[in-house]
């Protein structure tokens, strides 16, 4: 069956857009979550809409699932291939089609890198605001699939707030225009629904993003604290003072030391926590806000408050934060990155509990935190070559995510569910909610061929895992047989 399918693919598509040999497939066996690996049946790298349509048509005819892939930097296994499926790489859809300064938008193909959009718009003094840490590599199509965030989303929003329109190929080859360069499209807001749908609803083949005027000035303040609780309280006080920082990030001591060793950002390595607070806007406004923020930070017990002296130092301070994941990668053979979001008021409690869990599981945890919006990235350090450590790391991670849900948060703030958090999703959603998600999927993709098995766990999986969302004392999934 697969041989016949591949033979048909070869007939329908030029040789250079098709990979079928194991050694050619190898680079596609995983995305940024390398703990999961799988070779697909084939990889297709179409250069045109026609070729993409031809691929989808054959997949439909042969009932072969399709996994769309951007730059492969995703952290939840969303682009993990399926053994019986095709990986559809959008890497060759890599052109910036239009920059329209008067309407402040850019029309680009999905394989364009996030940072390339801001670079192309820079001569016009415009930029694309969402800046995930992987922005030098990650693609805008992948950003749409994951609803990617970044370190500036408290003020400027997530991908969903910065995308105006999409061109989407449905599984049956229909090309849909979703959204417009004009506000408030008629009918249901399918643009919001597509954003963050992890490749399960349609294939994004063009993206129109909003561009913003580059702020006149950005200034970064670094504050050191003797406890993470004090740093957390300082965050609430900044927001409470009516200040909306462009970015507000927290790192704990282990992350500070790892980042400092890696990029020599000049971080205070003996601090229990640091806050990075960026203010941007008009020159005078930034000066006023910097003074206000410094006051708030000192009142909140900061042991040291430093302003970046120049642009080079500002970028250096950010480099430490943006390089936190690889920095932790240098001090541990493996690490497992969590992505829960919590209401900020529970930060101290959640961090204290993570500390206890770390002791209990005997694994170190480094915390980096998008403090402004409550998105927590605990990095669990382990060594996969040591018997049982990976399983312990995963169990610790699951406990952390359950904790996030318990305090009113979510299992994933920006990395997506993918394959990684399918079990955790069982603790966040009840049977009716999961069934609703599957019904929405079926509205777009009735045969279930787009990235099946990702993002939304099946009801059976949740029942089998026994990780159930119990609400009101009632056991969910009573209708399902137990195993």
């Amino acid at each position: 069956m697969s041989a016949a399918f591949i033979a048909e693919l070869r007939r329908a598509l030029p040789e250079h857009v098709l990979l079928v040999e194991a050694e050619d497939l190898r680079p596609y066996e995983c995305d940024g979550l390398a703990a999961y690996k799988q070779l697909p049946l084939a990889v297709c790298l179409p250069e045109s809409l026609e070729q993409t349509r031809a691929l989808l048509r054959l997949c439909r005819q042969h009932h072969v699932p399709v996994v769309a892939r951007g730059a492969g930097t995703g952290l939840s296994g969303g682009a993990l291939p399926l053994a019986e499926g095709v990986v559809l790489s959008l890497a060759r859809f890599n052109r910036i089609l239009e920059i329209d300064p008067d309407n402040r938008l850019a029309r680009v193909q999905p394989g364009v890198r996030n940072l390339a959009i801001s670079e192309a718009a820079a001569p016009l003094n415009l930029y694309y605001a969402p800046d995930p840490s992987s922005q030098i590599a990650c693609s805008i199509g992948g950003n749409v699939a994951e609803n990617s965030g970044g370190v500036h989303c408290l003020k400027y929003g997530l991908t969903v707030h910065n995308v105006l329109a999409l061109k989407v190929l449905t599984m049956d080859g229909e090309l849909l225009d979703i959204g417009l360069a004009a506000p408030d499209s008629p009918g249901y807001d399918l643009l919001a629904l597509m954003t963050g749908s992890e490749g399960l609803l349609g294939i994004v083949v063009e993206v129109t993003v909003k561009l913003l005027p580059r702020p006149e000035r950005a200034q970064l303040v670094l504050a050191a604290f003797a406890s993470v609780e004090a740093a957390g309280a300082a965050v609430a006080r900044i927001i409470g003072a009516g200040i909306l920082p462009a970015g507000l990030e927290m790192m704990d001591n282990l992350s500070i030391r790892a980042a400092e060793d890696f990029v020599h950002a000049g971080y205070p390595v003996d601090a229990a926590a640091i806050l990075l607070c960026e203010l941007d806007g008009a020159n005078a406004e930034v000066s006023e806000q910097i003074m206000a923020v410094r006051r708030v930070l000192l009142d909140a017990g900061a042991t040291e408050v430093r302003s970046a002296e120049d642009e080079a130092q500002r970028l250096k301070f950010w480099a430490g934060r943006k390089g936190a994941f690889p920095a932790v990668g240098r001090i541990s053979p493996d690490y497992y990155c969590m992505d829960g979001t919590i209401p900020r008021q529970h930060l101290a409690r959640v961090l204290a509990r993570i500390g206890e869990l770390s002791t209990q599981y005997d694994l170190r945890v480094a915390n980096v935190f998008h403090a402004g919006d409550g998105n927590l990235h605990p990095l669990i350090l382990f060594d996969a070559n040591r018997e049982g450590e990976q399983a312990r790391a995963e169990a610790l991670g699951a406990d952390i995510l359950r904790l996030c849900v318990e305090v009113g948060g979510t299992i994933t703030g920006e990395h997506g569910v993918g394959v990684e958090k399918l079990d955790a999703a069982c603790s966040q959603f009840n049977a009716a909610e999961l069934a609703q998600f599957h019904a929405v999927k079926a509205a777009f993709d009735p045969d279930g061929l787009l990235n099946p098995g990702k993002a939304v766990p099946t009801l059976h999986r949740c029942a089998e895992m026994g990780r159930m969302h119990v609400s009101g004392g009632a056991l969910p999934f009573p209708e399902l047989p137990r195993f």
Partner: protein, 347 residues
């Protein structure tokens, strides 16, 4: 109250009886007529959670918008999308369902941008918790935002969680006497610069812009822009459509366009907001012509008020999109119980 709502919906589902959901009925003019039994939400009120430093508020759908605005203002905060009320009875649920944003929309975002989560009663009579109370949440499909502008056709909103923002320290309004072309040119030019703009209005030869921000920054921007300083009273009147422009009985079109789109060239009077992206047209233009022109300019048109609410009022959609929208409706409300035909005849 919630128990009662759930039972009413479950009964309607069992008997396949359509329901027309009503909050304060202040936006009943918007969209198409609904035929069905009334389901009143205005008794389902109250703020469920509000911690100002979290920048999130959770309220029951029937809570009066005016009440919530007051509470937010007491804490120096606001809904960033500056929602119109169109009457004292307006509810937060109705605000989300209508999805209408006010003058700050291009800079502060739309209603949908602020929606973080909802508790929804779907067309199977189930209560679903979609999204949450946190700013970043990518677990599950974003069905919460889908409720903004759905005019109640996908389910009954029980509770909504919305992002709020600090109120600007200060606001100032500048006025300029300009012809339409020059006003459009300036607004586009200003939009490309990092200026603290938060609203624009052009009508009858007069451009007014609002600046919002910290003290020194406003003074600098004010000096750069020139013009004559006038009061801020115009903006609530614009938001609530209390200006004389909106007060005639003539049909009122709401035409959304890319901001730099050229003039509409349609018969009638126009008023331009949102840095050029929203053009109100008052007059007896032919519907087909308006839709054609809006589509040609890359936007869409809605017969907002004063038209025939039994006919179509929103921009027609291509067949494939219509079919998909219909399937999305069926996924949430398989029997078509909620507000049938409120958006399009088939939605």
């Amino acid at each position: 109250m919630e128990r009662e709502l759930i039972e009413r919906v479950q009964q309607a589902v069992a008997e396949k009886r359509p329901l027309c959901i009503r909050g304060g009925a202040t936006k009943a003019f918007y969209g198409r007529h609904c035929v069905g039994e009334l389901l009143e939400l205005s008794g389902h009120r109250g703020i469920v959670a509000y911690e100002p430093s979290e920048l999130v508020i959770t309220v029951r759908a029937g809570t009066p918008l005016a009440e919530v605005d007051t509470v937010l203002a007491e804490h120096g905060q606001m809904f960033p999308f500056e929602p119109p009320r169109f009457g004292a009875e307006a509810t937060v649920g109705g605000m989300v369902a209508a999805g209408l944003s006010g003058p700050r929309r291009p800079w502060g975002g739309a209603v949908r941008d602020a929606v973080l989560g909802v508790r929804l009663l779907n067309g199977r009579g189930e209560v679903l918790r979609l999204g949450g109370q946190v700013m970043k949440n990518v677990a599950g499909y974003d069905l919460a935002r889908l409720m903004a502008g759905a005019l109640g056709t996908l389910g009954v909103l029980l509770e909504v969680s919305l992002k709020v923002l600090p109120r600007p320290v200060e606001e100032r309004t500048l006025a300029f006497e300009l012809d339409a072309a020059e006003a459009a040119r300036r607004v586009i030019d200003w939009g490309r610069q990092p200026l603290p703009l938060s609203a624009t209005l052009y009508a009858e030869g007069r451009l007014q812009v609002r600046l919002s921000g910290g003290g020194q920054c406003l003074a600098t921007a004010r000096a750069a822009l020139g013009g004559e300083e006038v009061g801020n009273a115009i903006w609530p009147s614009l938001r609530e459509q209390d200006l004389p422009f909106f007060q005639t009985g003539a049909p009122l079109w709401r035409i959304a366009l890319p901001p730099a789109a050229p003039d509409l060239h349609l018969p009638g009077e126009t008023l331009v907001e949102w840095g050029g992206a929203l053009r109100w047209l008052r007059g007896e233009a032919v519907a087909e012509r308006v839709h054609q022109r809006a589509a040609l300019l890359g936007g869409h048109a809605t017969l907002f008020k004063g038209g025939d609410a039994n006919a179509e009022v929103f921009q027609p959609m291509p067949p494939a999109m219509r079919a998909l929208q219909r399937r999305v409706k069926q996924a949430l409300d398989p029997l078509g119980i909620f507000n049938p035909g409120r958006i399009y005849a088939e939605l």
